[in-house]
Amino acid sequence: MVKHIIPNSLSEALDYMSKDEYKIVSGGTDLMVQKRAWAETPPKFDQNTIYIFNLMDLKYIKKENNKIIIGANYPVEKIKDFKSTPILLKKAIEIMASPALRNLATIAGNIGNASPAGDTLPILYVHDALVKIVSKNNSRIVPINEVILSVRKTCINKDEMIKEIIIPILEFTKTSFVKVGGRKADAISKTSFTGAVNVKDGIVKDIRIAFGAVNVTVVRKKEIENKYKGLSVLELQSRINEILNDYEPFIKPITDQRSNKDYRKQVSLNLLKEFINNL
C-alpha cells in the first residue's frame, strides 16, 4: 500500500523519510503532470509520497551576508518579487510557465526534478549557488553542479531533502538570459542562454556563461571562462570564433517533439556570439 503523508514540520517529514523512501511533492507542478491519470481518478503515485507544501519552516526568503537564502517551499513568483533577488533569476522566473503555475512552483522542485530544461537551473549555475540538503541526523551544503548529476538524477539520498538554496549576490555589469521556447509564454525551452560579465575599466574581470536544455545537465565551463578573464572587451570580441569553438563540443542537444538538435546548437552559439558582440 502506498503511503501519503502530510507532515506538520520539517523534522516530522525527515523522521518519516529516515524510515521509508518517499517522493517529495511541494508545488506539484511537475509531478502532477508526470503522474496524471484519467479525469476524476487519483494521480498515479505508485510510491510513497510526502507533501511538504504546508511546511512553513521551509517557506522563507532572506538576505544574509551578501547571499540570498531561499527556503525549499518558497514559490518562484514570490522569489521574483523579493527586492534582493538577482536580476537574472527574476528574468528567468518572469518567463517561466504561466502565472498560476509560478505561484506553486519552487526552485527546489526545479533542482529535484533535474530536467535539462529546468528554467532556473542555468541561473543557479552562473551564480555558483549552493544547496543545503538535510536528513534526520545530517546536513550538508553542496554546489549546484554537484547536486544535479544527469537527466532526472541528483546526489540527494532517499532520506534527504532540499532545505534551502543559497545564492551569492554577485556584481555584474551586464547580464543576459534568453529562453528560446516555442512561443512567448507557457512554453518549455528548446534552449536557453545565460551570460553575465563584470567589466571594470574595459577589462573583463569576470565572465560566466551557461546553456540550458542542450546537454544532460546545464553546461557551464569554468575552465573556458578562466581562459578569457582579464582580457579587454575588444580582445574578447576579437576572439569570438575561438570562444565559439571552445563551447561547441559541449553543446550536445537532442531532436525531440519540440525542436531539433541542429537548431538548438546553432541558436545556442548564436546567442553566445550575440552576447559577446554586444558587450
Binding site: W38, T41, R183, K184, R258, D262, Y263, V267, K273
Partner: protein, 697 residues
C-alpha cells in the same frame, strides 16, 4: 430601424462567463457508467485473435460483434469501420469499448485485453492514391504551347489540430424507448444518421441532443459520429446512462486534423503575362477517406485563389496512409491551397521581376469573370475598395524600414483571398435539403427550430437577432434551445460557413411569413425549405459551373520581426479587412476575425504537428504550441458591406474566411524579412534557420 449590424450582448455570454453553462463533462446521471475505448497498438496489422478477461458483474465490453447494421461510420463512403474487426489501419484505432461503474476497474480490464496481431508494413506519404479528381478551364494546351517560360514551385503544409478547449465527449442513455445521445457536436443529424445506421434501427429509435459546445472548429463535424456509434451500441445493449469523454491526449492522438498537403503549381508565362496554370494537389487523408474527397475538391476549386486565370488544369489526389484519419477543420482544404497560391503569385512576380502588388492587381478577379470551374462571379467584388482602405490604414508602403543594427529582421506580408460560402456546387439542394421551422406559441414566444449549433461562433445571438428584427419583437421573446432531433427539423450541419447565409436566410424567410400571423393569439408553425437559385448550375463529375452560390473576400496584412539570433518570429501588427456581405452582429464578426486570424497565423508560423512512424508526436498542449494572448499582436479589423441578395440582410459566410488568409500573410511577411523564399508552413524558427543557411535560396 436600427442597423442589424449594431452589436448587442451575446445571448449566452453570461452563462458561459459565469460557469453556469453545462457541458457534457458536467452532466451526472443516476446509475451512470463510464466508458473507455480500447485501441490498437499497431499502425497496420491483422487481428488474429482477441482475448477478453473475465468481467465482473456490471462491466461490459462492446465490439464489432454487437453491431446489427453494417460496420462502418455513415459519412460518405462505406470505408471507416466503427470497431476494427479483422484489421487495424492506424495506431490507436478503436477495437472495443469497455463500460462499467469504476474507472480504475475499467482501466484494469483494458490492460488485461490481449490481442494477437500480425503486423503489416505501414504506408506513409503521398504514394497510395484513393481518390483522384481532374478538371480544366479554357484551353490549357494552347497556353502551354504559347508560353515562353514555365515557373514551377512546390509547397508543403503540415497538420493542424483544432484544439477546442473542450475535448470530444458524449453521454448516452435509454429513455422512452429511444437511444438518446447528448454530446459536444456540430451536426446533430450527422450523428443521428450514423447511429441509426450502426444500430440498424428505425429513425425514431435515436434521439440526439446538442450539449453546450466548448469549441469545435470542424473537429466536431464528422468525428463525433464515430464516438456516438461506440456509445450508442453500448447504450442499446446495457440500457443505462453511459458517459464517454476523451482525455486531452486521447483526443489529440486519435481525432481528425487538418490534412497535410503537397501542392505543385506551374505558371505558363509569356511577356510577363500568366497564360495559364497547372495545379497538382496531394492531401494525406490518413487511414480512411471520411470527408477527404470533399476537402480535396474544395482545395482544387481554390486553385487560383482570388485571381482569374483563363486557362487552367487541376488535378488532385487523396492519399491513404496508416495514420489517424484527417477531416474537417475550419477552411476545409482552402487554407492549404490559398497558402500555395499566395506564395506562388509572389514567387512568379520575383522570378519575372515584377512588383507582386502589380501582378496581383492584374489578375484579381472581377465581377463577371469566370471562376476556376468556369462558373461566374455574379455578385459585385469590392476588393479594390478594400485594398485601398487597408493600404491606407496600415500605411503599407512605409511599414518596413531596413535597420542593419537591429536585433531583428522586419518584414511585411499580405494575402488576398476568397472563401466559397456554403456547400460545394448543388450540395445544398441534392444532399442537405435544409428545413427550418419557426413556431409561435400562445404566450407570444417564437421558437427557432433548427439543427444549427452554437459552438462559440454566436449563432444563437445572430439567429435570434434576425427573427426579433423581422418580427419587430424584443429578443427575449425569441427562444432558441440547443437542437434536439426529437423537436427540430434537419436544417443541415453547422459547417462550411453556411449557417447564417443558408439557414439564417431560411429563418428570415420563415419570420417574414410568420409576421402576418404574429398578432393572432393562436399557435402557428411556419416551415421553410431550401430552394436552389435557378441560375446555379453545377456538374459535380466534371467540376464545371458554379462551385458556390456566393463568395466572401478578405485581405490580411501582417508585420513581423524575426530574431537574428534565434530565428523566432514576433507578430507585430495585423490589419484585416473583410467582405462578409453584411455583419448580422458586428462584434460577433470581429470576434470571429480575431480568433480566425490567430488560428490562421498559428497555422502559418507556430503550430507544429508531425506523425512520427504513424504516431502523433505532439499530443498535449505542452508540446502542441498554439499562440497565447502574449503572442497575439495588435489587430485591427475592418468590415465592408457588400450585401448578398439571398442572404439574410445581405449576409454571406464568415466563419472560415477569417482563417484562410493568415498563413500566407505571415509566411510572406517572414519571406520579406529574411529575404529567402518560403515553401512550407509552419514557418518555424527551425525552418527559418535552414533557409538562412541555404546560400542558394
Amino acid at each position: 430601424m436600427t442597423d442589424i449590424s449594431k452589436t448587442i450582448k451575446k445571448v449566452d455570454s453570461d452563462e458561459k462567463a459565469t460557469g453556469k453553462a453545462v457541458y457534457v463533462s458536467d452532466i451526472k446521471m443516476d446509475g451512470m457508467l463510464y466508458a473507455k475505448t480500447f485501441r490498437s497498438k499497431h499502425q497496420h496489422a491483422l487481428i488474429k485473435s482477441i482475448k477478453y478477461p473475465k468481467l465482473e458483474e456490471g462491466y461490459y465490453i462492446i465490439d464489432h460483434n454487437d453491431i446489427k447494421g453494417k460496420n462502418f461510420v455513415k459519412i460518405i463512403f462505406e470505408d471507416m469501420v466503427v470497431f476494427a474487426d479483422k484489421k487495424v489501419n492506424y495506431y490507436l484505432e478503436p477495437i472495443a469499448l469497455v463500460v462499467g461503474k469504476d474507472k480504475l476497474i475499467i482501466e484494469k480490464i483494458i490492460n488485461e485485453i490481449e490481442v494477437e496481431y500480425e503486423v503489416l508494413e505501414p504506408v506513409y506519404g503521398y504514394v497510395n492514391s484513393e481518390i483522384n479528381y481532374h478538371f480544366t478551364k479554357g484551353n490549357i494546351e494552347r497556353a502551354k504551347m504559347d508560353s515562353e517560360k514555365t515557373i514551377e514551385y512546390t509547397y508543403d503544409t503540415g497538420y493542424q489540430e483544432q484544439l477546442y478547449i473542450e475535448p470530444q465527449g458524449m453521454i448516452g442513455y435509454f429513455e422512452d424507448n429511444q437511444v438518446v445521445l447528448n454530446g459536444s457536436i456540430q451536426c446533430p443529424y450527422y450523428v443521428k444518421n450514423a447511429v441509426v445506421s450502426i444500430l440498424g434501427s428505425d429513425d425514431d429509435y435515436v434521439r440526439v441532443i446538442q450539449a453546450t459546445v466548448g469549441g469545435a472548429f470542424g473537429g466536431k463535424e464528422e468525428f463525433p459520429s464515430l464516438l456516438a456509434c461506440h456509445l450508442a451500441l453500448a447504450v442499446d445493449k446495457i440500457k443505462k446512462p453511459i458517459k464517454l469523454i476523451y482525455e486531452r491526449e486521447e483526443d489529440m492522438e486519435t481525432t481528425t486534423k487538418r490534412h497535410p498537403a503537397k501542392i505543385t503549381l506551374k505558371a505558363y508565362t509569356k511577356n510577363n503575362k500568366i497564360l495559364g496554370m497547372s495545379s497538382n494537389v496531394a492531401i494525406d487523408g490518413g487511414a480512411y477517406i471520411g470527408l477527404s474527397g470533399v476537402v480535396l475538391s474544395r482545395a482544387l476549386i481554390a486553385s487560383t485563389g482570388a485571381y482569374t486565370i483563363d486557362n487552367l488544369e487541376v488535378t488532385g489526389d487523396v492519399f491513404l496512409t496508416n495514420t489517424v484519419p484527417n477531416g474537417a477543420f475550419r477552411g476545409f482544404g482552402a487554407p492549404q491551397m490559398l497558402f500555395a497560391v499566395e506564395m506562388f503569385i509572389h514567387h512568379i512576380a520575383k522570378d519575372l521581376n515584377i512588383d507582386p502588388l502589380v501582378l496581383r492587381r492584374q489578375y484579381l478577379a472581377k465581377q463577371g469573370d469566370a471562376t476556376s470551374t468556369s462558373g461566374k462571379f455574379r455578385d459585385p467584388i469590392i476588393m479594390n475598395e478594400m485594398l485601398k482602405t487597408i493600404l491606407e490604414i496600415s500605411d503599407y508602403k512605409k511599414l518596413v524600414k531596413p535597420n542593419l543594427k537591429s536585433k531583428y529582421y522586419e518584414g511585411v506580408g499580405m494575402s488576398w483571398f476568397l472563401h466559397g460560402c456554403g456547400f460545394t456546387g448543388s450540395g445544398e439542394a441534392t444532399h442537405i435539403k435544409a428545413v427550418v421551422k419557426l413556431k409561435k406559441t400562445k404566450d407570444g414566444l417564437v421558437h427557432i427550430l433548427i439543427a444549427a449549433v452554437d459552438m462559440g461562433q454566436g449563432v444563437k445571438t445572430t439567429m435570434k437577432k434576425i427573427v426579433a428584427n423581422i418580427l419587430n419583437i424584443p429578443i427575449e421573446k425569441v427562444v432558441y434551445n440547443n437542437p434536439d432531433t426529437n423537436f427540430v427539423p434537419d436544417s443541415g450541419p453547422t459547417v462550411a460557413s453556411r449557417t447564417i447565409m443558408i439557414v439564417g436566410g431560411l429563418v428570415a424567410r420563415a419570420a417574414l411569413k410568420l409576421k402576418k400571423h404574429y398578432r393572432h393569439l393562436d399557435e402557428k408553425t411556419v416551415t421553410e425549405t431550401f430552394k436552389q437559385p435557378e441560375y446555379i448550375k453545377w456538374d459535380e463529375e466534371n467540376f464545371k459551373g458554379d462551385a458556390y452560390p456566393a463568395y466572401s473576400w478578405g485581405i490580411n496584412i501582417v508585420k513581423v520581426e524575426v530574431d537574428k539570433a534565434t530565428y523566432q518570429v514576433n507578430l507585430k501588427n495585423v490589419w484585416s479587412i473583410y467582405d462578409v456581405g453584411k455583419a448580422i452582429d458586428e462584434q460577433i464578426i470581429l470576434g470571429q476575425a480575431d480568433g480566425g486570424t490567430m488560428q490562421g497565423l498559428g497555422y502559418g508560423y507556430l503550430e507544429v504537428m508531425n506523425a512520427v512512424d504513424g504516431k502523433i508526436a505532439q499530443k498535449n498542449v505542452t508540446d502542441y504550441i498554439i499562440p497565447t494572448s502574449v503572442d497575439t499582436p495588435d489587430m485591427e479589423t475592418y468590415l465592408m458591406d457588400n450585401p448578398y441578395p439571398l442572404g439574410p440582410y445581405g449576409a454571406k459566410g464568415a466563419g472560415e474566411l477569417t482563417l484562410v488568409g493568415g498563413a500566407p500573410a505571415v509566411a510572406l511577411a517572414i519571406e520579406n524579412a529574411i529575404g529567402k523564399k518560403v515553401y512550407k508552413i509552419p514557418v518555424t524558427p527551425e525552418y527559418i534557420m535552414e533557409l538562412m543557411n541555404d546560400d542558394e535560396n
